[in-house]
Every structure is written in C-alpha cells, then in structure tokens.
C-alpha cells in the first residue's frame, strides 16, 4: 500500500535530510510541496490522500471538506492544536503526531539544570576562569535525600521520577490518574496540595490543554515551601505568572524554565529581574538523539498507517 499523493504544506524541503525524503518518496506515488496560501491549494487538496503539516499549522473543517480523499494527517511535532481532531474523526481521517521523542533529552536537561542550581556549576567555572580556585564560598546540597515531587506522570514525568529515584531522592508524584506500576517502584502518590507542601524540588510535567492552563495558580503556588526549587520544562501557560513573580520577589522559591521562546517580551520582563529565576532557551528537547528520533517517528507513522497499524494516532 502507498499514498497516491502526499501534500507537504509549507515545507521547504530543509526540515528533513535526504534519506528521510527518499523514504517518504517510496511511500507515495507523488509528493507535492505547497504553501497554504497557494492558489492551487484547493485543487491539490482534492487529490491528496495524505497531508503533512508543520508545528503550529492550522487545518480545520473547511480544508478537510475540500480534501474529499484525505485519510491521513501527519504532524512534524507534538502539538496538534490547529487541527480539528473531532471533525477529522468524523471524516475518518487519521491524525498522527510525534510524541515521546524528547523524553530522555528533557529528563536529562532537568537534572543538569537542577545540579547547576544546587552546586552553582556556572559560578564555579566562572570563578576558576578568573583564576580563583577556592571552594570557600561554595556549599551546595545533594539531590539524595531530598523530597522530589513530580507533577504529571506522562513519559517525561515518569522518566524524571525514575532518575530522581536513582539519585536517592524521596520521590512523590501527582497525576490525574494513579499509576500503580510506578507506585510499586517507590514513587509515591500525593495529593497535589501535599506534593506542593512537602517537596524540596518540584518538576512540572503536564501537557498544556484547557484543563491544565493555569494549573499552578496563586493558591497552589503559595503551598510550595520556602526554599524549594520549581522546575518547569513545560509550557509556561501552566503557571500563573503574577503569582509566580510574587513568590520570586520574596525569595521564597527558585524557578527554572526553558519555554522562554514562547513567552512575550512583557512576560519575560516580569521574570528577568530575579536571580532565583533561571531562564533557558528551549534547549531541553534539542538533543541530536531527540531530533533524529523525531524524524524517524515521523516516517514510521506514515509506514505504520499504510500497514493498517497507525502509531501516535491522536484522534
């Protein structure tokens, strides 16, 4: 089985290396690069049985209605917020995204950022560079023995919890659903309130959706104990920004984030004055391994769909 025509919407050809394009070519009789503003869009859509989208693309009812032969939409990324999933289901269009490719990258980054914070890795290197090799002003603390709370036990949260356990932390989680398989591994369930109250280190690993938007608002943020470290390698919409700033201002907690590229200048201006707020570019998921895995999954999704066993189907 092959696709008859795959439409590549707003792709330039630089998104994937040659070997990936060759693989895709073998899975389709034709592949057509097109921008979403092209006059030909309507005509091409009529014939396309597959559409590949880039992160952030919108694909709603109108386009689906035009694409009467469409049976597959593939997203080069995780977020599919711009795709009308319900309508796609109604039209019997399979929508697949890429999930889980950055699990290790994000979890490892999380520990790199935590240890950088706990041990002042950056200041230590800078001091040595200036010719001062004294440890006198350094008194770090260890992850071992700390109470480590993970909010959201999806793939990244679960991996983060496992690594924390490996470091010898006392690990708690809160998740919408209880995960007995992790509880058997000494990752203990807490109510969200108790997790926030008890933990020395907290990581926020929730997907963003209407239910999780603003998940850590003023009330919940106020539960976090003084001196705790909150790490958010997830979208900043999960957190009430003004309430966060108010706790940072009082030096009550420290905070690490990496979704800075998705924030407005005004939002960043609120956070930047605080030394206890460590801002990274979004590098948590940018490992070579994650990038390669992402492309592999993108092509695998196409192959699996053709074999009748869709992978990463989101509708």
């Amino acid at each position: 089985m092959k696709f008859r025509k795959i439409l590549l919407l707003d792709y330039t050809g630089k998104e994937l290396e040659k070997t990936y394009w060759e693989k895709i070519a073998r899975l389709a009789d034709k592949k057509v690069f097109l921008t979403s503003s092209s006059k030909n869009l309507g005509k091409e859509l009529v014939e396309a049985d597959g559409v590949l989208l880039k992160l952030g693309a919108k694909f709603g009812q109108d386009l689906m209605d035009q694409a009467s032969k469409l049976r597959y939409i593939g997203m080069l990324g995780t977020g599919v917020g711009g795709v009308d999933l319900k309508y796609a289901t109604k039209k019997k269009i399979t929508v697949c995204n890429i999930a889980g490719y950055a699990t290790e990258g994000v979890a490892e980054f999380t520990f790199g950022a935590i240890i950088d914070f706990l041990r002042e890795i950056e200041r230590a290197k800078q001091q040595a560079r200036q010719g001062d090799y004294s440890e006198a002003t350094f008194a770090g603390t260890e992850i071992k023995g700390k109470k480590f709370g993970v909010i959201g036990l999806g793939s990244i949260g679960a991996r983060t919890a496992e690594l924390a356990l490996g470091f010898g932390a006392k690990v708690f989680y809160w998740s919408r659903n209880r995960k007995k398989n992790y509880e058997r591994k000494r990752i203990k369930y807490r109510t969200i309130a108790n997790l926030l109250k008890e933990s020395d280190i907290i990581t926020l690993n929730l997907a963003l959706n209407p239910k999780t938007n603003g998940f850590l608002g003023r009330t919940r943020l106020s539960l976090i104990k003084k001196g705790a470290l909150l790490v958010n390698p997830s979208p900043m919409e999960l957190i009430g920004l003004k309430a966060l700033v108010s706790r940072l201002k009082k030096k009550a907690i420290s905070f690490i984030l990496d979704h800075s590229d998705e924030m407005t200048k005004e939002q960043l201006r609120l956070l930047k004055p605080y030394k206890n707020c460590l801002i990274y570019p979004p590098i948590a998921y940018t490992t070579e391994e994650a990038t390669a895995l992402k492309k592999d999954i993108f092509v695998d999704n196409l192959e699996n769909f053709l074999k009748g066993k869709p992978s990463n189907k989101v509708n």
Copy 2:
C-alpha cells in the same frame, strides 16, 4: 573508656561546631589546642593518648617517639600522606581517617558537570540573560546510549557507575580487582586499554598513591577516542599533564577537573588556554550533606576506637 588527653594540633576551634566539640569533650578528660610550632609540644605529646590532625599535617617518627602514651591519631579528612603509617603500626598507634563522606556529592557533581558540558547549560543561561531565547545553536547529546567508562570502582566510582546506568548509558569499569557484584548489575569489566578505546565518557575515580601516580600517561591518554569526554574528580597527579595538553590542543578530547586548588600556577597555565578543558574549584565534595557527614564520622571514629571497634582505620 575515655581519652586522658587529646591533643588538637593546629586546630583553631572553628573547624567544628559547638555540638561536635562538646561530644569530643565528653570523650576525653582533657583536650588541648596546640600549634605544631609550640615550645610545649614535646611536653604535651608525652601525656597525650590521642592526637587529632588537620588535612596535610605531618606526623612522623620523631613525634611518635616523643608521644610514648599515644594510641590514636585521627585525621579530619581522607589523605594521611603526612603520617608514617608503618611506624604508627609498629608503635601500636591506631590511625583513622574519614572516607566515603563525599561519595554522593562527588558523583552528583560529576553528572552536573557532564550535563553542563553535553548541553551547554552555562552558554544557554548566558544567552537567555542577553535576551536571546533561540535554541538554534544548541544541539546537545544525551547520556543515554553513550559508552560510559569508570576507572576505579571504589565508593565514588561505583556510585558514578550506578548513576550512569540509571541514565541509560552502557557502563564499563576497570578496577584493580574484579567486582562481580557490580558485574551482575550490568556494569561490565573492560581492560584499561579497551575501556579507554571504547568509551564516549570516562570518569577517573582512583585514589592517589605511588602506584596510581601518572596512571593516565601519554600511552593511555592516546587510546581515548576522538570526541570523548574525560572527567577527573580525583587528584591531577593521576594524569600526565603534558600528554593531556597535547590531546587538548588537538581538540581530540574534552576534559573536566576540580582539583585545581592543588595545582601550581604553572600547571594551570598549561591547561587554561583550552576551551575544551573545563576547570572547577574543588566543589565536588563541598555539599552541606558531605560536610556534616565528615564531622559526624570524625567524632564517630573517636567513639568507636574507645569502644574497641575502630572505624576507618588506615594502618
């Protein structure tokens, strides 16, 4: 049982908090603070049955001969190079040091420094601080899947190997003696030559002694593969400095060290020009937990000796 007189050589009293001094006071009829240059040293030594030394102190045959009642020497640290252990044994003097207090601290630091290197944690924070939130120039790699070689499977090496395993690395070790209990945990033995040839990341966790001095000389350093990272949280005397510089100069390997305080200015001047040489002050062992544990062990050693069950005896 108590000591009759404990001599505190070159202590100021600031080395330990009050609670520790109180504990020591309960273990001895008398405790005397004295500098090693004091005129009274001879007189005090004659009566002392215990002597407490600070790291780096020298205590040789002459002093032991003067201290005819001496039965215990305690070191506030690990290294006992300045104490004549053989002569102490001959004189039936028990010498105890402090070992293992920094296992977690050093192992955690090692991973902090590795992830800082692999993900460019420092550069990322600096870039964000300057208002640039793009990840475009960051392509880190993961510990997962890497070949991770640990040289020396003492307490710190073993803990490092366990953590590497937790991160999903393929872990090898070389140690003077095979350690079957770790081999059962998927930490595989390699000859030193094969470990050096195969590993992407290498940590050097040997104690310094006449046999290990210069352990990584020109021949062994030349075996390390291009692009590998060598981490040394141990004394720099383990490594042939000129051979190391020659590999750094060719950008063949990267190197992390933290025993910079023990190096001469000339030695540091050899390493400083290289960006692939990351120099830290000796912060690997300076965690609050390690510092507290160190003092606890110091006092425990005294108590255990009095109970007839010496702990951390090194002779």
